[in-house]
Symmetry: C2
Subunit: 377 residues, 2 copies
């Protein structure tokens, strides 16, 4: 599928039927595999996931849906499981027909190669403009039993997840009802993958799947397990979210926009998102320019009622703005030093209340434009 | 005020007391001159406008307000008119104190130089990253009397007007009540300057002022005059809007996003704005890449309920997408030819209703990033 000849097909297989939970893009334009996967996740059980990169299978009409059904049917037959338990996912260019033949021909060979050590190769096979594979894991112990959670994600552009990020797969040997798994997944994604943005563009193919096959004997329904599992899954998703932003198209800096002192979490998030998506803030960060006026201008247009005369702004631990006015040349020199770092925090205190939210993002660089002006050529 | 030594101060003077109307940014962070100008426009009468570039006088606290008051008082004294009839406007970097002394020293010299032919120089004096001055005019005739409308605007970045654009000054010799002038100005700006975007960032200094001094003897209160005046003012503002986008920071292409077949004008506008502000659409246009999937993906995340299977998409007159699917290689070749043009239309038909709206915008280029990474250095 990829002209470059790079890896572009991967399968995830669970040894036993796994409880499954999923989150999907809220973009109104949704790829065929998203539509089919959403339908199948409702069944609550999954055995395998079939993922291709290099083609999103989106805006491809009935033919695209047939390809999603046909290719997953071939994998299901190979594994001897019902088609409804095989979940499709695709990522890549939109609007190009996805050919079924090369995928169907490759599936038997892929199944033969499947092994626990293959996860790194799987993570490579689902990359598009990503430059590094993204894998994270956590191990937990509850009631004398060990369990594990492993996650794989991809995505470097068209990233402002709205329920999920580009593609993310979570596997665990915990035993779970799919409803309980869904609840934990939703709660953790809301504050991790849903709090990042690269370019403000929500993908048509965003998919997060979690498969829990129970082999550890650890039961999610135990309250103690649930607490430990949710905390570890949250950490794992934060880890993947940070890897996604670190590998953002063209990015040279990673920064977290933290809004505190807001009247509500929603308002804090709205201000944080507006600042994180501002082209002017992102280009100033790329230029290592302590142009704090752009941060205040973005906050001001967020739609949140705020009082500019009460805003404080910090770059790292340096207070650059107090009560809406700059703190002078010394603060600016210190801020410029912070901006030279590869990662930093930008904290906005609205002094309107006690709520907080943060969004993780990156700068807008010359390479972002180069990558996206040339993407299909 | 400008390190480069370029022109940075201008005055507009009306021969007689003029009715005045104004529109200002809806950004919650507003510059001192915006706050003062808004207050003075309520008085309904203006004699002069004092504008500086190179410094926005924004986030400058009480000192910034004193500078706005002080500098306009010097101009008022020079002209022998009340301070309340002199309107301030500023544009440039945010958060740097605006020095009053050089402005107050320059005002008497500027007043001596004022002449009808000076408009071009005024247009130059208010430029920041603009590369060309923007002046437009219209002449009308009603009931045997001639009248004129002249407009000057500036702005090339931080442009997504939300009631107004960066700075825009309209002068006419029509006689008008300020309330009637405000109504016509609001109606025409809503569909011209409020329908453009360069980078989605609403400025803290957006100001549109219209001054009507009545010297033509043509009365706006006559219904016939009102129709002619509103049509001509609409044309003039469209003209200025197009000049603003043509001179957008780093832009190589101008394109109009037209959304038709929407259930409401608001929904049409929401889809058009989302597509026009998408970094991925804008970089594809810069790369002359017919990546229509990004247009559909942006429309899909606009929040408007739409059915992707009904969307048609045209580049110029070329149908590239029918019922949500691409029209094939021949259409793509024709679309690529359209994208090589310096200006084109992108028409999205949602087939959900009969309402239409459009937004004028530009591509996101390497030079946009270069300009904004280096703006203050």
């Amino acid at each position: 599928l990829k002209k470059s000849g790079a890896k572009d097909l991967g399968v995830l297989i669970s040894q036993t039927p796994a409880a499954v939970a999923g989150l999907f893009t809220r973009n109104r334009v949704q790829a065929a595999p998203v539509l089919l996967c959403r339908e199948r996740v409702r069944g609550g059980i999954a055995r395998a996931v079939l993922v291709n990169s290099g083609n999103a299978n989106c805006c491809t009409g009935d033919a695209g849906m047939q390809t999603a059904r046909g290719t997953t049917a071939v994998l299901a037959a190979e594994l001897g499981v019902p088609s409804e338990q095989v979940l499709p996912a695709s990522t890549g260019v939109i609007g190009v027909p996805l050919p079924a033949d090369p995928i169907e021909a490759a599936v038997p060979k892929l199944v033969q190669k499947v092994c626990p050590e293959g996860l790194q190769e799987f993570a490579e096979a689902i990359m598009t403009t990503d430059t590094v594979p993204k894998v994270a894991g956590r191990r937990g112990r509850v009631g004398g039993r060990n369990f594990g959670i492993t996650g794989v994600a991809k995505g470097a552009g068209m990233i402002r997840p709205d329920l999920a990020t580009m593609l993310c797969f979570i596997c665990t040997d915990v035993a779970a009802e799919s409803g309980a798994l869904q609840a934990v997944l939703s709660a953790t994604v809301r504050r991790s993958l849903n709090r990042i943005t690269i370019d403000g563009d929500t993908s048509t193919n965003d998919t997060v799947l979690a498969l829990a096959n129970g082999l550890s004997g650890v039961e999610l329904q135990q309250p103690q397990t649930r607490d430990v599992f949710q905390r570890l899954l949250g950490e794992l998703l934060d880890d993947l979210a940070r890897r996604l932003i670190s590998d953002a198209e063209g990015a040279t800096k990673l920064f977290e926009v933290i809004v505190q002192g807001a009247a509500s979490e929603d308002e804090a998030l709205q201000v944080a998102r507006t600042v994180a998506d501002s082209s002017l803030v992102k280009t100033a960060v790329f230029g290592e320019d302590a142009n704090w006026g752009r941060v205040l201008a973005a906050a001001g247009r967020s739609g949140v009622p705020l009082d500019p005369r009460r805003i404080d702004l910090y770059f790292g631990d340096v207070m650059m703005v107090r009560d809406g006015q700059g703190c002078g040349p010394e603060a600016e020199a210190q801020t410029t030093a912070i901006l030279r770092r590869p990662a930093f925090r930008l904290t906005i205190d609205l002094h309107m209340g006690t709520e907080t939210a943060s969004v993780l993002t990156c700068d807008l660089s010359l390479d972002y434009v180069r990558i996206n002006a040339d993407y299909r050529s």
